[in-house]
Amino acid sequence: MAPPLRNTLLRQANTCLRQNRPTATARLTRTTFLQRLASSLAVLEQRDGKLNMSSLASISAAQKLGGSIHGFVAGGNIKAVADQASKIEGLEKVIFVDNDAYDRGLAENWAPLLVENIKKGGYTHVLAGHSAFGKNLLPRVAAMLDVQQISDITEIQGEDTFVRPIYAGNALLTVQSADNPKLLTVRGTAFPSGNAEGGSASTEEGVDPKAECPTEWVSESLAKSDRPDLASAEKVVSGGRGLKSKEEFDRLMPPLADAIGAAIGASRAAVDSGFADNSLQVGQTGKNVAPQLYLCAGISGAIQHLAGMKDSKVIAAINKDADAPIFQVADVGLVGDLFDKVPELTEKLQK
């Protein structure tokens, strides 16, 4: 064997050995340590007395940590929600605080509420979904507890080691935290959605510090839709700038979505141009989706958009530009004019 090649092989073998041995033992001790000590609080979301099922991902994430898991809910007339939550598989206990001051999820009174309940429960980990609610609330809690939160985790490697995407998903960062408790927001699409049935947790009333809330909730305007929720849909059809106008977007995308029972998404360009509602934006600054099928038309595939959809199982793209970056990630690419291809596809799928 030629010496340079042999040296390389030897070096590789050595590196493998060096990497393998300590990690294996470290992981073993970590796991046993974990099962003894971890106790997690999963912050669950509710709206109008209904549990938000996508927040169950924080429970499945907590299960990877081992140890006991408590769920937390708060709001007016919360007992029914707490009872519903007590059936979630994996929960040992549901802590609830009945006070309608928490109905709107405002961080100003929620943060002291969580701080008190975290302290009382002595949790090692606190997890919430990386949703608008979790993003708004958890860092405030982290600062009050003097903890550096870890956002949008996609993997749990040990009780103190987590993986999260940075740079719009162009790099994966593995970090280790010595903070106690560890505060985590969880990327919903990276963990199983959890089972809402089959559990039998006890329920227990939490502490209510009744912190004053300097912020008043005025109103909301939510986009109404009968279609599946974008963030958790099995299939997503998504339109971009190539659709040219809101009229064309509304003419072409909904029938395609209906043909396969998909949610509708959009690129930032489409949202900025007013073709689609802001809440439909997929990407670094919009929603992260990881459906079975992501079918997009008229989207070039800028890195900010790819950040939000490249974990999809199958990506299909229709674009007239054969060199569009979207084709580098698409499993199925069709070069052609979307104004011909989308209606044809819709028609053939309806059959």
Binding site: A142, I166, V314
Partner: protein
């Protein structure tokens, strides 16, 4: 109405259009010889602050702030060219501060400089944490409105903010002092004109260090590894719609 004393923290990050590369040692993203610019969400903060002044709100001054290596000065000059009155640079060459450290530093700046409105970007496009504004609000115990797409301040210091939430928007109201973080829909940031860039060179830029604030902000998180995500292979192209449907069925997606 109170005089508005606005703080706009800005961060120098790798330009949004650049595809970041992980270094060979897998310890960080390669930053040498890579184009940097102001975090896009921070441009929106500055624009919003300047528009408050242009809307004849009583803006006393707009202070731009950045913490990091010497090159952050360029970012602060850009901020002043866009309309900030002065800048404060906390020079820190060695470590990149975490959101908690930055929030603690900002808390001191807010107190020192008697700020009553802080407008931050909702997240920096490098570490994508989305934490600093909320942490600062928590440390100061001020109201917060994150992911703002519309901001209005009335005569009695009421701040009404429309914020982007899952599924739509919601509107909140609180009194100054307050923390706001910007979402992309808030405004369209202006370009700095050449005369303004020239003028910005004469605006005051103060340099300080972490020590001046009596802060020792040791990072809490240890980077174990930075990796490229597993590459995705484009599966090639199909000729027509029938080909697309056939392939999707073959892949089990339909």
């Amino acid at each position: 109405m109170s005089k508005l004393r606005i703080l706009v923290p800005v961060k120098r990050v790798i330009d949004y259009a650049v595809k970041p590369r992980v270094n060979k040692a897998q310890t960080a993203v390669e930053k040498n010889n890579v184009k940097h610019s102001m975090n896009p969400f921070d441009e929106l903060s500055i624009e919003e602050a300047v528009r408050l002044r242009e809307a004849k709100k009583p803006v006393e001054d707009i202070l731009a702030f950045s913490a990091g290596p010497a090159k952050c000065q360029d970012t602060l000059r850009t901020a002043m060219a866009m309309g900030c009155d002065r800048a404060l640079h906390v020079v820190e060459e060695k470590q990149e501060l975490e959101p908690l450290g930055v929030a603690k530093l900002l808390q001191k700046v807010v107190e020192d400089e008697k700020r009553n409105l802080v407008i931050l970007g909702k997240q920096s496009i490098d570490d994508d944490a989305n934490q600093t504004g909320q942490m600062l609000a928590g440390l100061l115990n001020w109201p917060q409105a994150t992911q703002a797409s519309k901001v209005e301040i009335d005569e009695s210091d009421n701040v009404t903010v429309t914020r982007e939430v899952d599924g739509g928007v919601e509107t909140l109201r609180a009194k100054l002092p307050m923390i706001i973080t910007t979402d992309l829909r808030l405004n369209e940031p202006r370009y700095a004109s050449l005369p303004n860039i020239m003028k910005a060179k004469k605006k005051p830029l103060e340099k300080k260090s972490l020590k001046d604030y009596g802060l020792d902000v040791e990072n809490r998180l240890k980077t174990v590894k930075v990796q490229e995500p597993p590459p995705r292979q484009g599966g090639g192209k199909v000729e027509d719609v029938d080909g697309m449907i056939a392939k999707l069925k073959e892949l089990g997606a339909l």
